[in-house]
């Protein structure tokens, strides 16, 4: 049986979606450039731009920073001030929230730091909702929230966002998304995903991974997380738990106990605790990024214990990377969170082990890069998640009920 082609309406929706995605990710561009990128004729582009303009999603204006003579052509830019999302990042020892405009601009940001601050889901949701309320109060009166997304360090069921387990903060079967949605009262659901999946998404769309279709993002903080993008798509597995690189088994016989209940997982061997313990940092010394930098600094100045600790952790990390290279043939491995420091501190070790053990044909093409978005990687990923609905059907979601609540 012949399948009927898409209707005019579907084509139009698809084109609007593609156009808005181009402007959101590619930044301001003239209609001519957009027509070229999308392979559409100029009158079609003009009609689509007009629709997006009417919906308040884009605006046409003269390019900024022109000094040249002659008449410059108008550029289409995202309405980044008045169309925004809330992005949340539930860390183990910090909570962060940002208001991020269409086009990816960071408009506002809040953060609080405390050891194991994420332990209580209700308080976590209350704190984040409080940040959102503050940022909403200071937003321009005509600004509209079009979505919300959150990064959680744990196994997040796809697509409903149930947090099955977040070992480092002790959550199990937590309906955190619903909780946060209720407290925000925006009339919009908060979408949830695993932190490294969102890191992968962010770096793929806006960071070191732009232009690559096959990459692995590794995120280090207390634990180690991973997000795998293959053929341009995030690998989720059957229920969303794919890419749990931190619990890749690397040392089952006499490995260190892991937060997941197993032992010898990659994050048990190469995570922050393993490094600080092996470096025999004094009790009460800095943890987190400061602690890790302390170890690298010490190693740099010749401290043999710190050096040995970095080598051990680098070795285990390399074991994980070898397996990832052999399994997924990525063109790029991106280090995020605290891993850039560890990578730079022990790159010779990591590279040597990878070069010794990974399959040559896959190894040759695997480049190692530091995340480009730095501390903003996860929030950027959460924002990209939050823009999902708007980008897939711009007109349906362009103007939620005024005020939202």
């Amino acid at each position: 049986m012949m399948k009927a082609g898409p209707s005019q309406e579907e084509i139009r929706r698809q084109n609007l979606s593609t156009l808005l995605r181009h402007i959101h990710l590619g930044g301001p561009a003239s209609r001519a450039v957009l027509a070229d990128r999308m392979g559409l004729n100029r009158s079609t582009i003009m009609a689509l731009v007009t629709e997006l303009t009417t919906a308040g999603l884009v605006r046409e204006e003269l390019p900024r920073e022109t000094r040249r003579a002659g008449r410059p052509s108008l550029v289409v830019r995202p309405e980044s001030v008045s169309r925004y999302v809330f992005a949340f990042d539930v860390g183990v020892d910090y909570l962060a929230a940002a208001r991020i405009g269409l086009g990816g601009a960071f408009l506002d940001h809040r953060e609080t730091v405390a050891p194991r601050i994420g332990l209580h889901p209700g308080e976590t949701a209350a704190t984040l909702a409080g940040f959102a309320a503050e940022m909403r109060d200071t937003a321009p009166p005509d600004a509209v929230c079009v979505g919300a997304g959150a990064a959680v360090r744990g196994m997040v069921r796809h697509p409903d966002g149930l947090v099955r387990s977040a070992f480092n903060i002790g959550w199990t079967e937590e309906e955190f998304g619903e909780n946060l949605t209720r407290r925000l009262g925006l009339g919009l659901p908060v979408l949830l995903d695993n932190e490294s999946n969102l890191g992968a998404l962010a770096e793929h769309r806006r960071g070191a991974g732009v232009g690559y279709q096959d990459l692995v993002y590794l995120h280090g903080d207390i634990g180690i997380g991973g997000g795998v993008i293959s053929g341009g798509r995030l690998l989720r597995g059957h229920s969303g738990y794919g890419g749990e690189v931190g619990h890749m088994l690397v040392n089952p016989r006499d490995g260190r106990p892991c937060s997941c209940g197993s032992r010898g997982c990659l994050e048990a061997e190469a995570g922050q605790d393993a490094l600080l313990e092996a470096a025999r940092r004094p009790v009460g010394a800095a943890t987190g990024r400061a602690g890790i930098r302390g170890v690298i600094d010490a190693a740099d100045r010749g401290d043999v214990t710190a050096r040995a600790a970095l080598h051990t952790v680098g070795d285990w990390l390399a074991v994980g990377i070898v397996n990832l290279i052999n399994l997924y043939n990525p063109a790029l491995i991106i280090f995020g969170g605290t891993l850039p420091d560890i990578y730079l501190g022990t790159a010779a070790h990591i590279r040597s082990r990878v070069n010794t053990h990974a399959l040559p044909a896959s190894r040759e093409v695997a480049r190692f890069r530091i995340c480009r978005l730095g501390d903003r990687t996860l929030l950027t990923g959460a924002a990209e998640l939050a823009f999902t609905h708007l980008l897939s059907d711009p007109l349906a979601h362009a103007l939620p009920a005024p005020g939202g609540s």
């Binding site: 930098r293 740099d300 730079l344 501190g345 010779a348 990591i350 590279r351 040597s352 070069n355």
Partner: protein
């Protein structure tokens, strides 16, 4: 994979008086790649780089640029090809600001007066193009900058002057961990933007972290030029300290090359 080097030296000999410092050195660098140049103190790294930059003439050998044989008789010839070198001492003027330093000796003039607005815009645009976020204002005096920021300014200056090949002589030698990370990220970004980068470094972590190829000089001879994905740290250490490692390196360490 890239195969054609943009810069290629063949059979370079260089002596200072009776002392031969470079022996039959071959060296290639490729667009989009970082080539690390390693070797012990006195191996001849800086001398090789000064030959590439036209500061030193060489006694024998060929200099090819984009596949063509060229004559490089001075720094101007090298600069005209697009070869820019950031030397260890950086040659920045402490009492001038970033813009002034980036245009030092090559000021933009509109008639007899300097075109400050254009220079400022070009300097800011170059830094922005390299995603440099650590430098707040291009009108800061260089004396107020950290070591990492000074390196950044020196590197941006090379890029501003249409450097196609940017050569960095020990850019992280004097820097702490955090600033080293900044500079290495910038080094990598230059290559990812399509430039050809040559990085001289003593630190093998830096070398393995950002390079695509490693060229090891040993007592003035090129022991090996290898892909970073093909070697281990101990092989590179052997190349540096003895000129050979297994099948890699010089056939004998006092005679002809392999």
């Amino acid at each position: 994979m890239t195969v054609t080097p943009i810069l290629e030296l063949r059979g370079i000999d260089k002596s200072f008086g009776p002392v031969q410092v470079l022996h039959d050195v071959a060296f290639s660098a490729y667009p989009g790649e970082v080539t690390a140049l390693v070797g012990d103190n006195g191996a001849g790294k800086s001398t090789l780089v000064k030959c590439i930059g036209g500061i030193h003439s060489f006694d024998a050998g060929e200099y090819l640029f984009e596949g063509e044989r060229v004559q490089v008789n001075g720094p101007r010839d090298a600069a005209a090809l697009g070869v820019e070198i950031v030397y260890q001492d950086l040659a920045l003027c402490d009492n001038l600001d970033i813009v002034q330093n980036m245009f030092l000796g090559r000021e933009k003039r509109r008639g007899p007066i300097l075109d400050e607005a254009t220079m400022e815009e070009m300097a800011a645009r170059t830094l922005a193009g390299l995603s440099v976020r650590t430098v707040k204002s291009v009108r800061q005096q260089v004396s107020h900058l950290s070591g990492g920021q000074r390196q950044t300014v020196a590197i941006a200056k090379a890029v501003l002057w249409n450097g196609k090949v940017v050569i960095l002589d020990e850019p992280t030698a004097a820097l702490g961990v955090a600033q080293t990370a900044q500079v290495l990220e910038l080094v990598r970004r230059l290559a990812d933007n399509g430039l050809t980068v040559v990085l001289i470094s003593h630190n093998l972590n830096d070398v393995f972290a950002v390079s695509d190829r490693i060229a090891a000089l040993y007592l003035g001879r090129m022991a090996a030029q290898v892909r970073t994905t093909d070697v281990t740290q101990s092989q590179v250490v052997e190349l540096i300290t003895s000129g050979r490692s297994g099948d890699l390196g010089l056939a004998t360490t006092n005679g002809a090359t392999a």
